[in-house]
């Protein structure tokens, strides 16, 4: 990679005044360069922690007294549900930053997060169903947390649908930011209302919160898997963000140099 300070993009940005230097690190080219080595590192962490977490979860943690072996699904279910919630907030945050400061990279990262967040929400629902069937006899339970995750999936899909429907990039980023921010304000309200609704209706006594009493080893397994999911999320989101960066910046000189380099530099993921 050529030295960053010499290229016209950053020089022009720096020339516009000291304020923009703060966001220099966010310049697409710099982001692309840094994530070039950061993504493989995240993959190593993700796979390493996943192996450790699953090992602890399956081979060290004991069988649950009440649920038997099916409880072992929590090692993917709980991290997935947690990730889907956290990623929505992170997405709304970066989208908001991108809107408020006109920061290109922030908007790109926000867009890159959405499919991964939706994926985790789907996984939380799928694994939740597969956990519910042997434990409580039904594939779906209108439990407060599962239902909120379902609604969260709808929020993700709405965001993705909106940003994809708008052709103008700036309008798309800003509209997405507004929707994501409104959505994140609503998530606690939605969760509260669903919990309210759940407790009022007889028959909905099944609760995902009645998880098995956690042995320490179970907790360890879950925490390891959570770290693995975070690392996975970083890796995938950065990969997608890199793709979007190239798409948006294809007319700029640094991309031109990048794609015209011979095979050794150009085609790395």
């Amino acid at each position: 990679m050529t030295s960053p300070s010499a290229t016209p993009n950053t020089a022009a940005a720096a020339g516009k005044g000291g304020r923009l230097r703060f966001f220099n690190f966010a310049a697409p080219m710099r982001f692309y360069a840094i994530t070039g080595w950061l993504v493989p590192l995240c993959w190593v962490v993700a796979i390493g922690f996943a192996i450790a977490g699953l090992y602890v979860g399956f081979f060290v943690a004991p069988t649950d007294a009440t649920q038997g072996e099916s409880y072992r699904i929590i090692y993917i279910h709980v991290p997935a549900a947690w990730m889907s919630m956290m990623l929505y907030l992170v997405m709304a945050f970066w989208a908001g930053i991108g809107w408020a400061f006109n920061a290109r990279m922030a908007s790109i990262v926000a867009r890159a997060i959405a499919p991964t967040g939706a994926m985790f929400a789907f996984l939380a629902l799928w694994t939740g169903a597969f956990w519910g069937k042997p434990t409580w006899g039904t594939w779906w339970v209108w439990d407060a947390r599962l239902t909120t995750t379902l609604i969260l999936l709808f929020l993700y899909l709405g965001y993705i649908a909106l940003v994809n429907a708008i052709d103008d990039q700036r309008r798309s980023d800003q509209a997405g930011a507004l929707l994501a921010l409104v959505g994140s304000i609503n998530v606690p309200i939605i969760y509260f209302s669903v919990q309210w609704w759940n407790t009022l209706h007889q028959g909905a006594t099944i609760s995902m919160t009645a998880a098995p009493k956690m042995a320490n080893t179970m907790l360890t397994g879950m925490l390891l898997m959570t770290v693995a999911c975070w690392a996975y999320a970083f890796a995938t989101v950065f990969m997608r963000a890199r793709a979007i960066t190239i798409e948006r910046e294809s007319r700029n000189a640094w991309v031109g140099k990048l794609v015209s380099q011979p095979a050794q530099g150009g085609q790395k993921t």
Binding site: L155, G158, L162, I166, L178, G183, N186, V194, W196
Partner: protein, 231 residues
């Protein structure tokens, strides 16, 4: 700009937009009644689909009425800003902050008067079709009274975000429905609670709180969305 002049321009924009929208709707009365027609037709589908057993219908009624109210509201809100966008007045009104808020409030008020109020008026009749008791009907109407303005506000936000897009109707519904779920839960839940013989004051307080917070926050968000969509 002096305080009174600022207030005057807010009132002026609010008044003129509201009057204009209502006048336009009056000129096309049949179009304005479409949401109501949809509401009634959609509700009638449920007994046809699930069977006429009275107990089940009575239990289902609040949920069915609320869901159909939601859908009817969403279907009619898509064209809220289209006319103003087309004749260029939208951009004019967005120039000053007070007039932008006045515009959004007037639009929401017009939408509520045209689609929310007919729904509220028709709900008791629908409730009778479903065999609801007197107190339950009252709770239904009270809930709709509080909830339909919320739906108008949320719908306007969706309309502003999807202004001018292809298939904006479906997109609007997908965006707004998740946000409307708490309103649905508290509104329908209130009727169920009354039916079970308990007090629904909690539900109504929550609905009221939702209405107030939405009325305070949504106009700004809608104005911001309009600016985003017209820049």
């Amino acid at each position: 700009m002096t305080q009174s002049a600022a207030r005057a321009s807010f009132a002026a924009v609010f008044g003129s937009v509201l009057v204009r929208d209502l006048t336009l709707a009056w000129r096309r009365r049949t179009d304005a009644l479409l949401p109501l027609a949809f509401f009634v037709v959609a509700i009638s589908l449920f007994p046809l689909g699930v069977g006429p057993e009275p107990g089940m219908l009575r239990d289902m009624a609040p949920g069915v009425v609320w869901v159909c109210a939601l859908l009817a509201s969403m279907l009619s809100v898509g064209s809220l800003f289209a006319a103003d966008l087309a004749d260029g007045s939208l951009e004019q009104m967005l120039l000053a902050p007070q007039s932008a808020i006045a515009l959004t409030l007037a639009k929401c008020a017009a939408h509520w008067i045209l689609s929310g109020v007919p729904l509220i008026a028709t709900a008791p009749l629908i409730g009778l079709l479903f065999g609801m008791s007197g107190p339950a009907l009252l709770a239904l109407v009270a809930g709709l009274l509080l909830g339909t303005p919320i739906l108008s506000l949320l719908g306007a936000l969706g309309a502003a975000l999807t202004l001018g897009l292809r298939s904006s109707g479906m997109l609007l519904i997908l965006i707004v429905l998740p946000l409307a779920i708490p309103t649905l839960i508290f509104g329908a839940g209130a009727v169920g609670t009354i039916d079970a013989g308990m007090s629904a004051s909690g539900h109504f307080s929550l609905l009221g709180a939702l209405l107030i917070s939405t009325a305070m926050g949504a106009p700004w968000a809608i104005a911001a969305a309009l600016r985003i969509s017209t820049e």
